[in-house]
């Protein structure tokens, strides 16, 4: 026979657990608050239009973040434009078309594992595969095959070297598993009855995916994709390995330009001995946070907007 537990004991246990949960939440909030406060105190005064549009400089009061900001936007744009279609297509294939065979199970497990691989590993892969192309075209930039003039927007070079294109491709590798998994989950959340309804009207598998399943999954896909993009814009390790330069004189002009990104710029400034550089590093962190919040804001906005017709 189970012992009868008195009401007061159960109430006490309930309250204790509640307190524990509250404490855990408060610790997380407190750390975040201290972090934000410290950064804002240090970096708020450094934020100005000149800081935003300024080029790198050896003097902290003249240095600006423009090159790194543009580099981040270029790399993220390339990354997003490639990772989204590839990731969504992969997820659609795995969820809607592929038979559940041993092969697809292996692919699935691999994608799960890839999502957990440290991003620096992707940096090494990116360096080998995109920047140097396995040394197949020699190891000197002079040996590279060039297409078009170096000043042109469409200038291309093989191998890619430490260019924005190589950076974007490397970040694509980082976020691809995340995009695939998010899309798969969004597709799985679409009720099977909708697919059955479309099939029963004589829709082919493709018509069902394109007309019914994908539109219903778009809010979930967009949220996942933009969260993946927020991860991409915050990555520094793989780009550091790739040779993302710490000193670049101008914003990227084409896919083959050298580039700096915000996290690397922050790292560069923060690692200097001078206090004044620490201050502008804090300013750059604020900027990075603003960009991140902007991305997350867009994700929430798209979700809200697209879910409305579903209600």
């Amino acid at each position: 026979m189970a012992a009868v537990r008195s009401a007061s004991t159960r109430l006490l246990a309930n309250r204790a657990f509640l307190t524990l949960c509250l404490a855990a939440t408060s610790i997380a909030m407190l750390v975040l608050a201290i972090l934000l406060l410290a950064i804002f105190v240090q970096g708020w005064s450094g934020l100005s239009w000149d800081f935003l549009t300024g080029l790198p400089s050896r003097k902290a009061d003249k240095a600006g973040v423009f090159v790194a900001l543009m580099g981040s936007l270029w790399v993220c744009a390339i990354c997003g434009l490639l990772a989204l279609p590839l990731g969504v297509a992969t997820a659609v294939f795995l969820e809607e078309f592929a038979q559940k065979t041993r092969f697809t199970r292996i692919v699935q497990t691999n994608i799960m594992n890839l999502a957990g691989v440290p991003s620096i590993v992707y940096g090494i892969l990116g360096l080998t595969a995109f920047a140097r192309m396995f040394g197949a075209f020699g190891t000197n930039v002079e040996d590279a095959i060039s297409l078009g003039s170096e000043e042109s927007l469409f200038f291309l070079r093989i191998p890619f070297g430490s260019s924005v294109l190589a950076g974007g491709l490397t970040l694509m590798l980082v976020i691809l598993p995340v995009v695939i998994i998010a899309t798969q989950e969004a597709l799985r959340a679409v009720p099977g009855s909708l697919r059955a309804g479309a099939f029963a009207l004589g829709a082919t598998r493709w018509q069902t995916v394109w007309g019914i399943t994908l539109p219903a999954a778009v809010p979930g896909i967009m949220t996942g994709a933009i969260l993946a993009m927020s991860r991409a814009i915050g990555e520094s390790a793989p780009l550091l390995v790739l040779g993302g330069a710490l000193f670049v004189s101008g914003a990227p002009e084409n896919l083959m330009s050298d580039f700096a990104v915000l996290p690397l710029q922050i790292y560069n400034w923060a690692s200097r001995p001078q206090e004044s550089f620490h201050a502008i590093a804090a300013s750059a962190i604020i900027l990075q946070l603003v960009v991140l919040f902007l991305f997350n804001g867009i994700a929430v906005f798209i979700r809200q907007k697209l879910q409305k017709p579903l209600q």
């Binding site: 009855s193 909708l194 029963a200 829709a203 539109p215």
Partner: protein, 260 residues
């Protein structure tokens, strides 16, 4: 027992001979013999798990989506072999529409729900499509309720309205046969009545096969009744006969509510 009028023998739409089906090694249906008449309402009754829904899903080959499902025997629609490997199932499903147990409108506007099917099969001008959508909604007796909000979400409709929309959606592609898998089981009595009345009007133009757990419903709406039990077709025939003079003891017990 009142509304099902005795009808003159009509053309056979679907012929079933020695039809068996399996899910993996489990035999769901055993040598069915049945003729489903054209432009009449045929009700499938029987306890849960007796195979009536399985059989329904063979008529439009929805079972193709289940890898382990297979069937043997004869299943013909106007002489065309529905089990043939070379059959174009996409075209079959255009000719054999289906309405599901739970209303499953697409998360789109009412208009787009109805227009989805026709657009799959050919391209229409705006005016043709408008006309087709209106006709289909009228046939499904829901036009007057939705005509002012064609472009708002179908998910805002009540359960009964959603089910009539699903019927309109099925009609819009111009099928010969309508399969209904317990179309009223998720609905309240008033909506059920509306759907039953609709089904009776639709029987003028379509061959209707309806699976139901509701004995009264089967009696009210159907011309023919087929009683399934444990994968076998126990008895089939005119609804009146089945209800008044069932030949089989099991049938009698089931319809009088002694088991099932």
């Amino acid at each position: 027992m009142q509304t099902a009028e005795p009808t003159a023998p009509t053309q056979t739409a679907i012929t079933v001979r020695g039809f068996s089906s399996w899910y993996g090694s489990f035999q769901a249906l055993r040598s069915l013999e049945l003729e489903i008449p054209s432009q009449q309402i045929t009700a499938f009754i029987g306890p849960s798990g007796c195979g009536k829904s399985t059989f329904l899903r063979w008529i439009n080959r929805m079972n193709d989506t289940i890898p382990s499902a297979r069937a043997e025997g004869t299943l013909d629609l106007h002489g065309e072999d529905l089990l043939s490997k070379s059959l174009d199932v996409v075209d079959l499903r255009r000719r054999v529409g289906m309405v599901f147990q739970k209303p499953n409108p697409f998360p789109k506007s009412i208009y787009d729900n109805v227009a989805f099917g026709p657009r799959l099969h050919k391209s229409y001008t705006r005016a043709e499509l408008d006309e087709l959508v209106e006709q289909s909604l009228r046939s499904a007796s829901i036009w007057s309720e939705v005509k002012d909000r064609l472009h708002s979400s179908a998910l805002g409709l009540s359960g009964g309205q959603q089910q009539r929309l699903c019927i309109a959606r099925a009609i819009a592609v111009g099928p010969e046969v309508l399969l209904m898998d317990e179309p009223c089981s998720a609905l309240d009595p008033k909506s059920t009545l509306a759907i039953e009345e609709l089904i009776e009007t639709l029987a003028d133009r379509y061959t209707i096969v309806i699976v139901t757990h509701n004995m009264q419903q089967a009696a009210r709406v159907s011309d023919q009744t087929a009683f399934f039990f444990e994968g076998r077709l126990v008895e089939s025939g005119a609804t009146e006969t089945i209800w008044n003079k069932p030949k089989n003891k099991q049938t009698e017990d089931y319809i009088t509510g002694r088991f099932g």
